[in-house]
């Protein structure tokens, strides 16, 4: 029976066109992912090379005045891009993977990122996660909306009812043909992605695959539930497309709007003002007061004493720079907290909205989520402090720039290897699948008990 169900379905134009389309789009998305990865690799190797040149050139020019040298020098921190990021580019298209910072105030430098092509942002990324989240559900709708109604509308249902032992089994078999074909298409795309993008077969890749699989099964269970309501093809198609539009477009946009309104971030502006004021006002403040604040935070440098009130001094200058960050730290922390609150709120809602949940899970697994970027910024804070603390004594005692071992200043690398929380990722999807599948079975069984 299955053989003929496959034959029958594979011979339809809907099936041929649908599978062709999803495979072509899938391959395009993988090649877009490949381009993205290549671009990131190119940036990474370029940064290493340029940083070396940049240090050498400035050391040649300013080695006699290490304070001035460090004023110019920038040190890069690269957020390592997982090969899985090619499947779900996520926030990586707006948040930079490389930040080069000097040891001056950090806050302003954190958001001093690369220029992003706004046209590209407008269209978004056609990565594999997009295909899974947007295209696969549409295909599931096209493949299933008339699963039963087409039998009724073409007149074969009567014969099927009389010939088959169980109507439910017949419909389940028909549904499983479509499930198998679409999962096969998904498997082909994952195998291609694995080979083309050289993704190591690990827990993250496995979790990514299973998340995609569960998301697809969710849409099948939802479609089956609509089918079980025993309406005609037009109703089924309209209902499913409305649900698609709501789950994939309207709700994510509404929730995004809600969290942005609920957690406004004026700190994005005030942090910048505080940091600038914190530093600039020190030019008009007496040096001792500035130095006292600096030594209160870093007593280990107290032995360098207090510079004279008249004239310029690097010790005083770097203390002023530091205080810019220090005085804006509350706002900065507030901003970070609010951004994380936005993320948490989205995750909370996402538990009930599979499209949001799946997108967030993909981004988490690919290390392209907003929280991943927040960890990167935290790492940048630590990197900045370590670098400052390394150079402060050299600046304060005016060591010759040529005496510093610059070879150790290759770009810093940030990578996040978080454990995959299978329960957290899979459970919401599994629950929704069981609910819709259970409701469908109830409706179908109820139908088999009536004429």
């Amino acid at each position: 029976m299955y053989k003929y169900m496959f034959k029958q379905f594979l011979r339809t134009n809907t099936c041929k066109l649908g599978l062709f389309l999803v495979l072509i789009l899938g391959v395009i998305s993988i090649s877009i992912g490949k381009q993205f990865l290549k671009g990131q690799e190119r940036i990474g190797s370029h940064v290493t090379e340029k940083q070396l040149e940049h240090i050498q050139r400035n050391v040649e020019l300013h080695s006699e005045d290490i304070g001035l040298l460090l004023y110019y020098l920038k040190f890069a921190v690269i957020s390592e891009v997982s090969p899985l990021a090619a499947l779900s580019i996520g926030q990586k298209d707006v948040n930079p993977s490389v930040q080069s910072v000097s040891i001056l105030t950090l806050e302003g430098q954190k958001y001093d990122s690369d220029l992003v092509n706004p046209t590209k942002l407008l269209f978004g990324n056609l990565d594999l996660s997009f295909i899974l989240l947007y295209v696969f559900p549409l295909l599931i709708i096209a493949f299933t909306f008339s699963l039963k109604s087409e039998e009724e509308e073409t007149g074969t249902w009567r014969l099927v009812r009389i010939m088959s032992k169980s109507r439910l089994q017949f419909l389940l078999a028909k549904l499983s043909v479509r499930v198998i074909l679409l999962l096969l298409a998904m498997c082909i795309l994952f195998v291609l992605a694995g080979l083309i993008l050289s993704i190591p077969f690990g827990m993250a890749f496995l979790a990514f695959f299973v998340t995609g699989l569960l998301y697809i099964l969710f849409w099948f269970s939802l479609s089956f539930w609509i089918i079980s309501l025993k309406r005609n093809s037009s109703f089924n198609a309209l209902a499913l497309l409305s649900i698609w539009l709501t789950l994939v477009v309207l709700l994510p946009a509404t929730i995004n709007n809600f969290v942005v309104t609920k957690y406004p971030v004026p700190e994005a502006f005030t942090t910048n003002i505080k940091q600038r004021d914190g530093y600039h006002q020190k030019w008009d403040t007496n040096k001792r007061e500035t130095m006292e604040k600096f030594y209160a935070r870093y007593p280990q440098f107290e032995s360098y004493g207090y510079p004279p009130e008249e004239g310029f001094n690097w010790l005083w200058y770097y203390a002023m720079q530091y205080l810019g960050d220090e005085e804006s730290s509350k706002e900065s922390e507030m901003m970070r907290t609010k951004i994380l609150q936005r993320e948490q709120m989205s995750r909370k809602w996402g538990q009930f909205i599979p499209s949001i949940h799946t997108q967030l899970a993909f981004n988490d697994l690919a290390n392209t989520s907003l929280s991943n970027h927040m960890y990167y910024l935290q790492y940048l804070n630590d990197f900045h402090e370590q670098t400052r603390l390394y150079f402060y004594p050299k600046i304060f005692s005016n060591v010759n720039g040529k005496e510093v071992d610059w070879s150790q200043f290759t770009p810093g690398y940030f990578s996040l290897s978080s454990k995959v929380n299978f329960r957290q990722i899979f459970l919401p999807l599994i629950i929704l699948i069981l609910i819709f599948f259970g409701l469908s079975l109830l409706n179908m069984r109820r139908e088999s008990r009536v004429y």
Partner: protein, 230 residues
């Protein structure tokens, strides 16, 4: 064996079938005649379990037709227009539906069934969308044969068939009856009813107003009786 006991069906206050009592034993062909809307298809639908009787019972092999009953296992059905899957050929449609009923036949057996139903071998592997109504009807007969059903319900099966196909069909029905099947056929074709049936019934406004054997009645006599009755 097929049996109706005080079987009635009312649709929104209109009596479609009123206290039908009849039985079709093994080896019998019962032809039910009547005008459009007389209640012939309603009777078939009640035996198929597609609609719920208002009162009384439809029985197949002594078991009442109702949701959850297994009466469908004994029934085969040939409608006026056999609707099959257009993107499968005749052989594939036959194999599909017989597998659906739980029967696995070899390719040779399937071919034999189609030939027995009157479909030429060259047509077996042609796409169903290229089939005429008569050819589809023959696949429908083959499907009914494949199920090895004890009761065969037919709703105007010869409607639209050419005389040769009708003749072939009549022969098949007789063979099936000789093999012990109970056949219940709703038809407008008086000549065919006399030719194929062992018993005939005439239905008017949901009531079986005449029932007799076909042994002592000619087509002309039946026509007169039919016109007088309705």
């Amino acid at each position: 064996m097929l049996e109706a006991k005080n079987l009635s069906k009312t649709f929104e206050g209109t009596n479609a079938l009123v206290n039908l009592n009849l039985s079709v034993a093994s080896g019998e062909i019962f032809c039910l005649l009547g005008q459009n809307g007389a209640g012939k298809t309603t009777t078939i639908n009640l035996f198929l379990g597609l609609i719920k009787p208002t009162s009384g019972a439809a029985l197949i092999n002594g078991e009442e037709v109702k949701p959850g009953s297994n009466t469908n296992q004994w029934i085969a059905y040939i409608p006026e227009v056999v609707q099959l899957y257009g993107n499968l050929n005749g052989l594939e449609n036959l194999d599909f539906f017989s597998r659906l009923a739980g029967y696995k036949h070899s390719k040779a057996e399937l071919s034999e069934l189609l030939i027995k139903a009157g479909l030429q071998e060259a047509d077996h592997t042609k796409k169903l969308s290229s089939y005429s109504k008569g050819m589809r009807q023959k696949v429908g007969i083959a499907i009914a044969l494949s199920k090895k059903a004890e009761v065969i319900l037919m709703d105007e099966p010869t409607s639209g068939l050419d005389p040769m196909s009708t003749d072939e069909f009549t022969s098949i029905c007789k063979e099936l009856a000789a093999a012990g099947k109970s056949i219940f056929m709703a038809t407008h074709d008086i000549f065919n009813a006399v030719n194929v049936g062992t018993r005939i019934g005439i239905m008017k406004e949901g009531k079986l107003v005449h029932s007799s054997d076909t042994d002592n009645i000619s087509a002309n006599e039946l026509q007169q009786l039919y016109l007088k009755t309705i």
